[in-house]
Amino acid sequence: MGCWWVVSEMVDPSRWLSAHGDALYAYARLRLPDAESAEDAVQATLLAALERVDGYRGQASERTWLVGILRHKIADALRERYRDERRRGELARALGSVEGEFSDGRWSERRPAWRMGAAGAPGGSGAVGVVGDDERREFRRALLACLDALPPAMRDVLVLRELEELETEAICEVLGITPTNLWTLVHRAKAKLRKELTRRWFDREDASSGATSASDTDPSA
C-alpha cells in the first residue's frame, strides 16, 4: 500500500483526462452506439488505469496504453450486451428483416445515383460528395448519425468487422452467430447504411449547392 501511495503521487488522473480524454471518447463513441456508453467506457478505462498504474512501465506511450485498456472495455461492453437473451432476439430480428429494396430478386426501383461534389472521387479524399474541410467534417458527422440510426446489432457487426477488422471467427464468438448469419447481417447493415446515407446526405435539402449534378460513372444517368 505504501508503494501504491508513492506511485499515486506521480499519477494525476485529471491530467490523463485532459490529455487523452477527447481521443479516448472519440475512439469509444465511434464504436459504441450512444454517448452514454462511450462515457462509461472512458470512465471505466481511467479507473482501471488508476488501479494498474504500477503495471505501466512506459514502454508504450501513455495514449497507446490507455487505448489498449479502452479496447478491452469496449469488447467487454459488447460481449455483455450479447450475453443478454434480448439482444440475441434482436439479432434474429435483424437477420429476418426485409429491406424492401428488391422484389423477385430485382431492384424494386432504379437505384438513385449519388450526386458528387468536385472532390467526390472516393480513394484520395476519402469522403464522398464532399468539398472542403467543413463539409468533410459535416459528412463524417452525418455518417456517424447514419451508423447510430442502424439497429444496434447491425451497427455492432459493422464496427467489429469494418473498424476493428476482427476475423469472422472472433466476431461470431462475440455475437454468438454463425458465419453465414454474420454475412447476411453485414449485407443488411450496409444496404441500410446506403439507404440512410442517400436520405440524410445525398438527398438533403441543400444537396445541390456545391455539388455538380453529374452522377457517378454511369453515362446514361
Binding site: 501504491w4 499515486s8 499519477v11 488522473p13 485529471s14 483526462l17 480524454g21 477527447d22 481521443a23 471518447y25 472519440a26 475512439y27 463513441r29 465511434l30 454517448a35 462515457e39 472512458v42 470512465q43 481511467l46 479507473l47 488508476l50 429494396e101 428488391f102 430478386g105 430485382r106 431492384w107 432504379r110 437505384r111 438513385p112 445515383a113 449519388w114 472516393p122 476519402g126 469522403a127 464522398v128 467534417r137 459528412f139 463524417r140 455518417l143 456517424l144 459493422l158 468487422r161 469494418e162 473498424l163 454475412w183 447476411t184 453485414v186 449485407h187 450496409k190 444496404a191 447504411l193 446506403r194 446515407l197 442517400t198 452522377s215 457517378d216 460513372t217 454511369d218 446514361s220 444517368a221
Partner: protein
C-alpha cells in the same frame, strides 16, 4: 469444363439481390472466383447494380476515413463538457479513497 459450365450458369442466372449480397464480402477471398466473375459481369450490365456497387465501395472508404478522423480529437465526436466533469469527479473520489 464442369467448373466453366457452373461459372457461366452463375453469370447468366445471377439476380440483383444476390449480386448485392456478394458485394458485402470483405475482400475477394470471401468469394469463389465464379461468384466474383458473376458479380462483375452482372454489374457491368445493370445500371442499378453498378450504382449500388460504387456506393458500397464509397461506404467502405468513408468508414475507413471515419476511423482515421476519430484519431483527431474533436473531429468526429467531441466529449461533452458534463461528461468530462462527471468522469473527473469520479476519478478524484476514487483516488481520494485509495490514498487517503
Amino acid at each position: 469444363m464442369k467448373r466453366l459450365v457452373r461459372a457461366t450458369w452463375l453469370v447468366l442466372t445471377l439476380r440483383c439481390e444476390e449480386a448485392d449480397r456478394l458485394r458485402s464480402a470483405r475482400s475477394a477471398d470471401e468469394l469463389t472466383p465464379s461468384e466474383r466473375l458473376a458479380e462483375r459481369v452482372h454489374s457491368a450490365l445493370c445500371t442499378s447494380c453498378r450504382r449500388a456497387r460504387r456506393q458500397i465501395e464509397m461506404i467502405d472508404e468513408a468508414m475507413r476515413d471515419l476511423r482515421r478522423a476519430a484519431d483527431e480529437p474533436g473531429e468526429v465526436a467531441p466529449m461533452p463538457r458534463e461528461a468530462r466533469d462527471r468522469i473527473d469527479r469520479t476519478l478524484r473520489a476514487r483516488r481520494g479513497d485509495s490514498s487517503g
